[in-house]
């Protein structure tokens, strides 16, 4: 039994290490597609080295202690000393070492925190592309003010250019998270938070609301289409030409809590409300006061609930 204890721990640790090493290239956070996610991955990997060292040291010490000092017949009596009460030197050492590790982790952390609050250095040749990402129960509105277009539940971005997301919400608090491109930030009504992301590789990535906000939460997802600058321009043009303008009436209907398909419009809702401002914070609540208490009875296999990829 006692022997098992040690082996069990050891095998756990081995399995963990193997899973970690083999899994690194598939897990989305460890497979960054842009500079923001890359810097976060670098930071995580850097911290992971320290953490692995700590874990190894503690596990080895632990296994040694439990194995060596377990109660068994014929133990050397010199191996038992019940009166050790402390040792100042060694205690100072194991206070200073964690402190040093914390300092070693703090410096790059603070650096990265500050770096993430501004556009990444790689995209300096162009001004960031501004996209207003507005969450409403349980859908996403993406407004491109420069291009004067708006999409619902899907997103197109050019590669190699910073995207400046201006996040807000029409009602409950949400968080915009595109793990392949970088970490998340909250969307809140009456406030505007800014998140810089950038895609280097073209591709289709998963994006979602990661902050629980009620019944439709699990379905509040979207696809991010990262494409070359030219393709992006073409796409913008096609939306501008082919899609209808968004009317306030239609927008108000869309705000009602529920799920919707993907859509696109050749104008944005910013012309009458910006939910990130103090004036826009109760826009949706005032219009749909009674709709928030209603249940969708959302089940997993009910296909009609799921956003459909249409109109692209």
């Amino acid at each position: 039994m006692k022997h098992m204890t040690k082996n069990k721990w050891f095998s756990f640790f081995l399995i963990g290490a193997v899973m970690l090493l083999s899994g690194c290239n598939q897990l989305v956070v460890f497979d960054p597609k842009g500079p923001v996610a890359q810097s976060q991955k670098d930071l995580i990997m850097y911290s992971l080295i320290f953490m692995m060292i700590i874990v190894v040291v503690v596990f080895v010490l632990f296994a040694f202690m439990v194995y060596k000092f377990r109660d068994r017949p014929n133990r050397k009596s010199s191996d038992y000393d019940p009166d050790i009460h402390g040792n100042t030197m060694i205690e100072i050492i194991w206070t200073v070492i964690p402190l040093a590790i914390v300092i070693a982790l703090s410096i790059p952390t603070v650096q990265t925190i500050y770096d993430l609050e501004k556009p990444s250095a790689e995209g300096t040749d162009e001004e960031p592309l501004v996209i207003y990402a507005t969450s409403a129960d349980w859908k996403w509105f993406f407004s491109y003010p420069e291009q004067n277009i708006e999409t619902v539940n899907y997103l197109h971005i050019p590669t190699g250019r910073d995207i400046e997301f201006r996040l807000s919400s029409a009602d409950s608090m949400a968080a915009l998270w595109i793990p392949a491109l970088g970490g998340q930030k909250y969307n809140m009504a009456g406030m505007e938070t800014v998140l810089y992301l950038q895609a280097d590789e073209p591709g289709v990535y998963d994006g979602r609301n990661s902050n629980f906000n009620g019944e439709g939460f699990a379905k509040q997802t979207f696809k991010v289409h990262a494409e070359s600058k030219e393709q992006f321009e073409d796409w913008v043009q096609s939306i501008q030409i082919e899609k209808p303008a968004l009317t306030q009436e239609q927008y108000d209907t869309l705000l009602e809590p529920g799920l919707t398909n993907t859509m696109a419009f050749s104008s944005t809702h910013l012309q009458w409300v910006d939910h990130g401002t103090n004036e826009g914070r109760d826009y949706s609540i005032e219009r749909h006061e009674d709709a928030y208490g209603k249940l969708l009875h959302l089940e997993n296999i009910n296909k009609s609930n799921q956003p459909q990829e249409v109109g692209e």
Binding site: M1, K2, T5, F12, V29, A37, S39, Q40, L43, S47, L48, M51, V55, V58, F62, F69, R70, Y80, D83, I84, H85, N87, I90, E91, W94, T95, P98, V102, L105, T109, T112, I113, L116, D137, L167, S172, A175, P179, G183, Q184, K185, A189, G190, M191, L195, D206, R208, S210, F212, N213, G214, E215, F217, A218, I285, L296, H297, L298, E299, N300
Partner: protein
């Protein structure tokens, strides 16, 4: 209000719950009547002010809550392993993870630990009872009724469904109308009052009722952890009280604190909630550290390494715990400066925690480890908790946290610290002190089965969640992407392993009750601290006499000097408080008022509040001084207990 609005309808699982509630309740009523035990129940338990009995009631309630929270957890795991089976729909899933979190933290972890403190702390410091036995009973009943109020929500009115953090504006009246969220607010408020009172009670007890000669730095480490915990409770719980009250006023009386209208500030809720919520984490982890320290010292047959460092690191952790709350919402966009400050303060907590880990390892050095069940829980804690701890540091790095936040990485982290820390400690503490409470040990063989099932199940359940989190799986979703399936299935298997472990643990309680050898002496494990100096079962007055204490491990030196807690020369009458029905009645009335407030029946709520105030007035005029246990009776009790 129509009956079908009052009761929750339309869910087969909930009908099942209703039926089982009715069945269990009628079975209990039948049994009590059949065995003519109503009077016994009232006299011995419901009106007791004895810290040992109150502690046992805490632990029993906590075990029941662990069962409830555990069933919630298994239901979630089933849904995530078989998302296409439609076991739970979205709404039901939301309710279940909300109640799982709330029940486990507020109604399981805390009362379990408070129960152990109740029983053990007065015994460890040589006290007759708590400083305020009446208040202790009030605390218990406020917790108990708070828990009942919260738990009844799933059959009456509907469960809360905004997560255990209950973030506004989602939890506000505009987005979550109906009584569900009110159950959360009133249930926590009621239990919170009791917790605050317990904190004050424990602090006064430890400061003023220590055995003669026992200095602060002679106190057993579990008592120290209790003192530090009570300090955190006293300074953190009022924040929760206010936060809950503000949201209640928002929801019921239409104020605008956390609303989207009237320039309210929903984020202020998160701020207040975590100002309490982070210290709360340490409220449930520090006593666990204390329990492990006691058990490791006992079964390593060696004194704790670096006692003073252990105490100071706990004090430091307590202080830091009030300075890190923002790490729960780094992603709120509070700016680089705020995030940097709180990132560094968060990581600093790793230093005193690391010191503790190394001190435990050093305690094992040159020891003689006895592999009892309690010791195995304690040993398993060290490596498991280290995994949770290092991932906690990673989460504390704000820039990286933008990727971890709201993902299963976070879920895995806090289950690693809360289960490996708190739950292991609850089991370890219960096994360790079981003979002191009930006069017999839990069966070791069955206990080890339950340990291995639970431990392996735990790692199988939560280790994969780190990876599925790094793969972008957010928390609180009832539907998942296909690529997350395999790890989720593994997780579910592990969760059921833990379930089996729990069932074996409960079976062990029954088995040991039937078959375990009764303890004849009080000192079941060759212990080091004063609680083992009393005979088993512990006399209701705890200690007949106490020798002058000098130094730590008081009982160890007593055994060396052939001293006991029964010195016939020095016997004196012992003053005891009388039992009283006031606490349960007072809190029942307050619970009635809270229930009325849940449904916004203001008139009834006011009546209930007035009733509570009247009860407090009655208490104020109550000059019952208790009674004295005479010397002859003490002699009789001690002689028979010690077999003299």
């Amino acid at each position: 209000m129509q009956l079908d609005e009052f009761f929750v309808t339309g869910e087969p699982l909930i009908y099942g719950g209703m039926v089982s509630i009715v069945l269990v309740t009628s079975a209990i009523i039948f049994l009590l009547t059949y065995l003519k035990r109503w009077g016994w129940l009232w006299r011995e338990w419901l009106t007791t002010v004895d810290h040992k009995k109150i502690g046992i009631m805490y632990i029993l309630s906590a075990l029941a809550m662990l069962f409830r929270g555990g069933v919630d957890a298994l239901m979630m795991r089933v849904q995530l392993a078989f998302p296409n089976m439609n076991f739970l729909n979205s709404q039901h899933y939301n309710e279940i993870f909300t109640t799982h979190g709330t029940v486990m933290i507020i109604f399981m972890a805390m009362p379990f630990l408070v129960g152990l403190m109740n029983i053990i702390v007065p015994l460890q410091i040589g006290a007759r009872d708590f400083a305020f036995p009446f208040v202790n009973a009030v605390s218990f009943w406020s917790f108990f009724f708070g828990a009942m109020l919260f738990n009844i929500s799933f059959v009456i009115g509907g469960s809360p469904d905004a997560g255990w953090t209950s973030y506004t504006p989602l939890a506000g009246a505009a987005l979550s109308p109906g009584p569900g969220q009110n159950f959360y607010l009133m249930g926590l408020q009621l239990a919170g009052i009791g917790t605050l009172a317990t904190g004050i009670n424990l602090m006064v007890t430890i400061l003023k009722m220590r055995a003669p000669g026992m200095k602060m730095f002679d106190m057993p480490i579990f008592t120290w952890s209790t003192l530090v915990t009570s300090f955190i409770i006293i300074f953190a719980f009022p924040i929760l009280t206010v936060a809950l009250a503000l949201l209640t006023i928002d929801r019921i009386f239409g104020s605008q604190f956390f609303t989207l209208t009237g320039e309210g500030m929903p984020m202020m809720w998160a701020n207040l909630f975590w100002m309490w919520g982070h210290p709360e984490v340490y409220i449930v982890i520090l006593p666990a550290f204390g329990i492990f320290s006691e058990i490791i010292a006992t079964f390593a047959r060696k004194q704790l390494f670096g006692y003073k460092a252990m105490v100071w690191s706990m004090i430091l952790i307590a202080g830091l715990s009030f300075l890190v709350w923002v790490h729960h919402f780094f992603t709120m966009g509070a700016g680089a400066l705020v995030n940097s400050v709180f990132s560094v303060s968060t990581m600093l907590i790793a230093v005193p925690t690391g010191v503790k880990i190394f001190n435990w390892l050093a305690t094992l050095y040159k020891s003689r480890i006895q592999m009892t069940t309690a010791m195995m829980w304690s040993l398993a804690f060290i490596p498991s908790f280290v995994i949770g701890g290092v991932t906690g540091v990673m989460l504390g790095m704000a820039a990286a946290d933008y990727q971890f936040h709201n993902s299963y990485f976070l879920i895995a982290h806090f289950h690693y610290v809360l289960i490996a820390g708190t739950v292991f400690a609850c089991f370890a503490g219960l096994v360790y002190w079981y003979p002191k409470m009930f006069g017999h040990k839990l069966n070791e063989r069955i206990g080890k089965h339950s340990f291995w099932w639970f431990l392996i199940g735990f790692h199988v359940c939560f280790f994969p969640q780190y990876f599925v989190g790094l793969d972008g799986m957010p928390r609180r979703v009832f539907a998942i992407l296909p690529e997350w399936m395999p790890l989720n299935v593994i997780s579910t298997v592990g969760a059921f392993g833990m379930g089996v472990g729990f069932v074996i643990f409960v079976y062990n309680i029954y088995y040991s009750y039937r078959y375990s050898k009764r303890e004849e002496k009080g000192d079941a494990w060759d212990g080091r601290t004063l609680e083992w100096a009393t005979p088993t079962p512990v006399p209701f007055y705890n200690f007949a006499t106490l020798p002058e204490i000098n130094g730590r491990d008081a009982f160890l030196s007593m055994k060396k000097n052939n001293e006991t807690t029964f010195d016939e020369e020095r016997l004196e009458p012992i003053h005891m408080p009388s039992n009283t029905g006031q606490p349960i009645i007072m809190m029942a009335i307050l619970a009635f008022a809270s229930f009325a407030l849940v449904f916004e029946w203001i008139g009834l709520a006011v009546i209930g509040l007035i009733g509570t105030l009247i009860m407090m007035g009655i208490r104020s005029f109550d000059y019952d001084d208790g009674y004295h246990v005479e010397v002859d009776e003490i002699k009789k009790i001690e002689r028979s207990a010690r077999g003299l």
